[in-house]
């Protein structure tokens, strides 16, 4: 019995991994490219699924304009509720029943980890997955998996660490982070820069997603005498942290993970005046920033969102991210031309040179190579002035 199962598996994977020419890549016809993704349309992080909605809207515009090389992009976006077992189920459904050419921009760290082995074993590209975790750049072990159109958490932490070393070389640093892959990436980033000094200068505290508040951790960190703070938290906890730091009269050099820079769901609930002086970083153009009003790319973006997604809240930055990732995919498909085999798609995705996406900050360019699976590595710092985020300083590289 056991042998028969293995036999079936072997035959199935052999069938899936047959070298495919353009015409017989699953999901590719002369008029259509069918691709798939998973999104949390239900469950605790439903808010993230605006990325998928934005991408569907982007391809709607693309297809109205004729698609790429005469082929329309058909994105099948399925709900996984952010639960890894369901990601596996839905991804297999996309591959084995829907017959998609590849996976594109599925969201989440744990969810993408759950299907990474399956997709790599079957040589199916896992393109531009939406996670900032630095683990998704491991081209040696997972050559079919490439990270998203965003700077990694680890790169972001390195930028903050370098800023601290420059502006306040003797700072005692406190880091308060969510106890999972997301939070630990920032610890790794600090260690990359601080090296041997890490143990002496950094005090850590963690919180769990189930905690009611993080007040206790903030109090503990303050009493260590730290004068710089890096808060690595999802929106609700970030708002709590900003409020508590202010309420207890602690005034550290304060850095906020750019996962939590939202004005409506973090800064306003915490109190706009309590966040004054907080620093974070950014790599995309913010539609709420009037400085971009005359920017032609921004005007095009606004025209797109008004025409294709009139019902959404355009302040949600995921609509900027989805526009960027949609365009990155179009670049890959253009480069691939008529050879749409999975091998060639992956080859093109890892050979993008100095691509300036229209909604990225000017100068932040997308670069990939067979040994560089991190598309975006530069950022600019910004500071909350009580009304809006104000960018300052040069573009900074987050690579080592």
């Amino acid at each position: 019995m056991r042998h028969r199962i293995w036999l079936v598996l072997a035959v199935a994977s052999a069938a899936l991994s047959l070298p495919a020419a353009a015409q017989n890549t699953p999901g590719v016809t002369d008029t259509e490219i069918k691709i798939g993704q998973t999104m949390p349309y239900t469950g605790p992080v439903t808010a993230f699924s605006t990325l998928g909605k934005g991408e569907i809207g982007y391809f709607k515009m693309l297809n109205d304009q004729g698609g790429v090389n005469g082929r329309k992009v058909n994105l099948i976006s399925l709900d996984d509720g952010y639960a890894p077992p369901r990601t596996v189920e839905q991804t297999r459904k996309l591959v084995e029943q829907e017959g998609v050419a590849f996976l594109f921009s599925s969201i989440g760290t744990a969810t993408n980890t759950a299907v990474e082995r399956y997709l790599n074993a079957n040589k199916i590209p896992q393109l531009f997955l939406a996670s900032g975790a630095s683990k998704f750049g491991n081209y040696k072990e997972f050559p079919w998996t490439i990270g998203g159109i965003q700077a990694t958490f680890r790169a972001e932490a390195r930028i903050y660490a370098r800023y601290i070393l420059k502006e306040k070389p003797n700072a005692k640093i406190a880091i308060l982070y969510q106890n999972d892959d997301y939070g630990r990436d920032y610890v790794a980033g600090l260690k990359d820069v601080l090296g041997d000094k890490y143990a002496d200068t950094v005090k850590e505290a963690t919180y769990e997603f189930t905690d009611a508040t993080i007040d206790s951790q903030v109090v503990s960190l303050q009493s260590t005498g730290a004068d710089a703070l890096l808060l690595v938290a999802t929106p609700k906890f970030a708002a709590q942290g900003i409020r508590k730091v202010y309420d207890i009269g602690w005034k550290p050099m304060f850095f906020l993970s750019n996962v939590a820079i939202w004005i409506s769901t973090v800064i306003e609930p915490a109190g706009v005046e309590k966040a004054v002086g907080i620093m974070s970083s950014v790599y995309v153009k913010d539609p709420a920033d009037p400085g971009w009003d005359n920017d032609p790319d921004m005007q095009q973006w606004k025209a797109w969102i008004t025409k294709y997604m009139p019902e959404v809240d355009p302040r949600d930055q995921n609509y900027v991210n989805s526009y960027n990732s949609g365009m990155a995919l179009v670049q890959v498909l253009k480069q691939a031309g008529n050879d749409l085999s999975r091998e060639n798609i992956m080859r093109q995705a890892t050979n993008i040179n100095d691509l300036q996406l229209p909604m990225m900050l000017p100068g932040i360019k997308m670069n990939t190579s067979p040994t560089d699976y991190f598309p975006i590595e530069n950022m600019q710092m910004m500071r909350w002035n009580g009304k809006q985020w104000v960018r300052f300083g040069d573009l900074l590289s987050g690579s080592l």
Partner: protein, 288 residues
């Protein structure tokens, strides 16, 4: 020493949240001998009702009372319409119904009110707070204690309270003396719904309001109720405060933040092994 005091007090503040949701659990347990997993979500939904009323210009305390009424009425309705058909069902079926309710109310709230984190107003003037506790945290502990007193007086001194206790403990005998047991159960659900609404409205200014706001808190509420004694309101309240303080002090000084939840749970297991009825609960004896 200052940091210690600070940890202790912010533990008390968290404990106040756990205590109030623990109280709601005790209410339902008193009336029905069930643990309601959807308790937190019912409270969250009532808090959203309050928020919408406040945003529409209704004064805070009027909105508070209306949300309370909503909590009460929806509690009664859930008991009458959804729970009643499962009266004779095995415990496991009832648990599944409760879990189903949890998901339904949660998704409904997300659909109606979005999953975005929002601020929630506090009725207590901000100026009263000190460095260690905000005005709202002090007020919340006060409201919890007040609620406890009202519940105690209700069960101890009113005929209705007596009838409810009787209906829960011995339905058959209660029916024989003319108590309408079915309505007593529904009333228990209604009161628990109201208490849960207060808990959520008091917690929301601290943890912010969003459909999943009560998820973690409900866990601690269970812990509070079990630690203090699931059949004793005073016990649940004390249990909540104890869990809050232990969690903070252990996290800050003993095991580190990664294990602070584990410490709270280990203590609860130890208590339950040595005193199965909880610290302040009474042991129920059944003749077999």
């Amino acid at each position: 020493m200052e940091a210690f005091l600070h940890q202790f007090l912010s533990g008390l503040a968290n404990g106040g949240i756990y205590a109030s949701i623990g109280l709601a659990l005790v209410m339902i347990y008193q009336a029905t001998h069930h643990i309601n997993f959807a308790q937190g979500e019912q409270g969250m939904f009532s808090a959203y009702i309050a928020l919408i009323l406040i945003q529409a210009g209704v004064p805070y305390w009027a909105a508070f009372l209306l949300a309370l009424t909503f909590g009460f009425v929806s509690g009664v309705a859930i008991e009458r319409i959804i729970i009643r058909p499962f009266e004779q069902a095995p415990v496991l079926s009832v648990v599944v119904v409760f879990l189903g309710l949890l998901f339904i109310i949660n998704s409904l709230a997300g659909w109606l009110f979005t999953y975005n984190v929002q601020a929630f107003p506090s009725p207590f003037p901000a100026g009263l707070g000190g460095r260690y506790l905000s005005a709202h945290e002090i007020g919340m502990v006060g409201v919890t204690l007040l609620m406890l007193l009202v519940i105690y007086l209700f069960f101890r001194f009113t005929p209705l309270g007596l009838a409810m206790r009787a209906a829960a403990q011995n339905p058959d005998a209660s029916r024989l003396v003319g108590i309408r047991v079915g309505w007593m159960l529904a009333l228990g659900w209604g009161l628990a719904g109201a208490v849960g609404a207060i808990a959520a409205i008091m917690a929301a200014p601290i943890v912010y309001i969003e459909p999943n706001m009560m998820g973690g808190i409900l866990l601690y509420g269970f812990a509070a109720a079990l630690l203090g004694g699931i059949n004793n309101p005073w016990g649940a309240a004390a249990g909540g405060l104890i869990v809050g303080v232990i969690e903070n002090l252990a996290g800050a000084y003993v095991v580190g933040t990664e294990l602070k939840l584990s410490v709270a749970l280990v203590i609860i297991i130890v208590v339950l092994v040595t005193r199965p009825a909880g610290l302040f609960g009474y042991t129920t004896m059944t003749r077999v």
